[in-house]
């Protein structure tokens, strides 16, 4: 069983939830396409990283104690220049410190703003009878309100992965409609299969969520990610 340095470190700290930054770092190493994300410890570093990554960027607070980043004012999107990055960094750190004076802050993550596309979700959980299961759905209201999702039990075959995409009611939206182009379904299939493999190789992961993944005509990119570990994971 491969052991991840991130996960080992986490257990030492007695944490069960990986931050977005840690989750993405882990998933990237597992071959999942994630939006380029770096961690800045100072305002100056944030500016440097944004220039390196290329505008527009997003800044997000990175702290194990803050799971609802948006609600706590820890997120600023679509920053187009150095000035905007500077003030966003200041606002985020000040705001969070006021709300969570005791939170341990890893830094502020600087990420490339992903181009708009079709949002989908891939998540996993553990069923008491069947073990790890994987879920696929369209993002936003489709999953939240309409519960338009499909399930499979891990491990799954390529055919299972493709079928779980085709099974959702919103599938025509992925195929393209009213002149909109079809999204890269093979790329989504690949992500599902890779996540299935991650769950097989890492029984210490309890839940995993890529929400959203933005699917394009060519390729797909996970923009946000969350990993929760088993309480009694043996390392």
């Amino acid at each position: 069983m491969k052991k991840s340095a991130t996960i080992v470190q986490l257990k030492k700290e007695g944490r069960l939830i990986l931050t977005e930054f840690e989750s993405k770092k882990f998933l990237k190493r597992m071959g999942i396409p994630v939006v380029e994300t770096r961690l800045a410890n100072t305002q100056k570093e944030a500016v440097l990283l944004s220039r390196k990554i290329g505008f527009p960027v997003a800044l997000k607070i990175s702290s194990p104690e803050i799971t609802h980043k948006t609600d706590s004012g820890g997120v600023r999107l679509s920053l187009n220049n150095m000035k905007e990055v500077k003030s966003a960094y200041h606002e985020i750190t000040e705001g969070v410190l006021k709300q969570y004076p005791n939170a341990s802050i890893q830094g502020v993550s600087v990420q490339k703003m992903a181009k708009p596309g079709t949002e989908v979700i891939v998540g996993t959980s553990k069923d008491p009878q069947f073990g790890p299961v994987i879920m696929f759905g369209l993002g936003g209201i489709f999953v939240e309100v309409l519960k338009d999702v499909s399930f499979r039990i891990i491990p799954l075959s390529r055919k299972d992965a493709l079928e779980m995409i085709e099974e959702i009611k919103g599938y025509p939206l992925l195929q393209g409609y009213r002149g909109k182009e079809s999204v890269d379904i093979p790329a989504l299939t690949e992500i599902i299969l890779k996540i299935s493999r991650v769950m097989e190789e890492h029984p210490e992961i309890k839940e995993l969520e890529l929400n959203p993944i933005i699917a394009y005509k060519k390729g797909a990119l996970a923009v946000d990610a969350r990993i929760i570990l088993e309480e009694k994971a043996s390392l």
Binding site: D127, P128, Q129, F130, V133, F151, R152, I153, S157, K159
Partner: protein
């Protein structure tokens, strides 16, 4: 708890025992050991029967033994119908005697209360240590009509269960002979098993046993829970690559799942996850109790279709259109018949060579109707554009054409494409008669058009994904 030996899926002693001991009450009535022995004798069981009860000397002409230890011969299977508390002791005696299979009819285990739960754990422990397998507790038992093994603990009112190719197993006694008219059916069953609380033998053991049972061509299961999800996935994938497995699972709703958990002492489950497991393993999921008895017929008695193209022969256009609508749900399409077939049909009667072959109009005007009917049915059946056939049969007010219909169907025996039939008419008596006779010949008749179409649709889907999505 000691683990189940994975190699021990051979349940032969339950279905083909040479000797059966019946332990418990022998009082005359509608339930108990008295009925078990009567059912076995009626069904023509050829092996030895050993009634065990300290208060009797003889029953049904058989010597009664005070205890299992007093039986001089080897015992393959025991049926236990006593109070739950005495079951552990009896099982220990059985193990000492070298018994390998026990059906525990007794209730009052995990489905009852905490004490019952404890007792259930205890009997499984005893069985595992003693290398004995248990069906139940809380079960109406098994049936294997081909060997006269019908140790039914409830009075069934008929003697013989018709032998056939469908295995029906359930987490309920609702499928056992006292609850279903197996004596009057046109089709037959290979094995029946109520696994009750499935403390030991469960759905996976049964599937593995039936996979290698040459008499079984289709497996129908009713489940309230799955004991081991990962094993279920593995086993069902393997079995469905050989034979179709059709499952009706209750507990779809939250309340249903909750009640089920308390009723058989099993764990509640997310229905969507079970649905995914069925899709992944090629299991055919059923929706109603009726389907459990109906849909397996197409698999057990007809060849699998080679594709999804449905041919329809009917008496009215309405039935044809209904069938098309229904077929779309399962991916069936009703194609244009081949030019050759159309020409032939139009020559038999002008305008007959349509997508839906409507035999109503010629019937009204042609005198020698049955001679053209035979030609129509045979022509459509061999059309290269058709993979399966829905045939609608009308039985007249005085059972007209019955003999002719049967003769025509006899000529279709050994057909390479599945035929699902629906029989209707003004007299229930003739409809039933026709249904029974056709099924006796191996042509499944369904209670309505929708069920007939669903059977063909599921057969077409199964033929495509046999053994799951690999």
């Amino acid at each position: 708890m000691p683990h189940r030996n994975p190699e021990r899926s051979d349940l032969n002693a339950f279905f083909d025992p040479r000797s059966i001991a019946v332990i418990g009450s022998l009082k005359e009535g509608f339930f108990g050991g008295y009925v078990v022995i009567k059912s076995l004798l009626n069904a023509g069981f050829k092996g030895e029967i050993f009634p065990v009860n300290p208060s009797y000397k003889e029953i049904w002409g058989l010597k009664v033994y005070p205890s299992i230890k007093d039986v001089p011969q080897k015992i393959d299977l025991v049926l236990i119908i006593t109070g739950a508390r005495s079951v552990p002791g009896i099982l220990r005696e059985c193990i000492e005697k070298g018994v390998k299979a026990a059906i525990v009819v007794s209730d009052g285990f995990a489905e009852r209360d905490e004490e019952g739960k404890r007792l259930q754990v205890e009997i499984v422990l005893i069985a595992r240590q003693g290398n004995l397998r248990i069906i139940g507790p809380n079960t109406a038992g098994v049936a294997n009509p081909s060997k006269g093994v019908i140790p039914n603990p409830y009075e069934m009112g008929y003697k013989k269960v018709k032998e056939g190719a469908i295995a029906i197993c359930a987490q309920t006694g609702m499928i056992n002979p006292q609850a279903f008219p197996y004596g009057d059916l046109g089709y037959g069953v290979s094995k029946i098993c109520d696994f009750g609380n499935k403390a030991d033998v469960d759905e996976c053991d049964i599937m593995e046993y039936l996979e290698n049972d040459p008499a079984t061509k289709a497996i129908a299961l009713y489940l309230e829970s799955i004991k081991d999800g990962q094993r279920f996935l593995k086993v069902s994938k393997k079995v469905t690559s050989k034979k179709p497995v059709l499952i009706l699972k209750s507990g779809r709703t939250e309340q249903g799942a909750h009640i089920s958990a308390s009723h058989t002492g099993s764990l509640a489950q997310d229905d969507r996850i079970f649905d995914a497991a069925c899709r992944q393993s090629g299991v055919i999921r059923l929706n109603t109790f009726r389907e459990l008895f109906e849909l397996p017929k197409i698999f057990a008695y007809q060849p699998l279709p080679k594709g999804n193209r449905l041919g329809i022969i009917t008496f009215t256009g309405a039935v044809g259109v209904l069938a098309i609508d229904e077929g779309a749900k399962y991916g069936l399409s009703v194609p244009l018949l081949s030019p050759g077939t159309r020409k032939k049909l139009d020559a038999i009667f002008p305008g007959l060579g349509k997508r839906i072959v409507d035999i109503g109009p010629p019937m009204a005007v042609v005198n020698d109707y049955m001679s053209i009917y035979s030609e129509i049915l045979n022509t459509v059946t061999v059309d290269p554009c058709i993979d399966s056939i829905l045939n609608v049969i009308w039985t007249g007010p005085s059972g007209e054409f019955m003999e002719e219909y049967l003769k025509i169907y006899r000529g279709l025996q050994g057909n390479r494409k599945p035929i699902a039939s629906w029989v209707y008419g003004p007299r229930v008596h003739y409809v039933n008669e026709m249904t029974c006779q056709l099924e006796d010949m191996g042509f499944p008749v369904f209670p309505d058009i929708e069920m007939a179409i669903k059977a063909l649709g599921k057969a077409s889907q199964y033929a495509k994904t046999k053994g799951g999505n690999r």
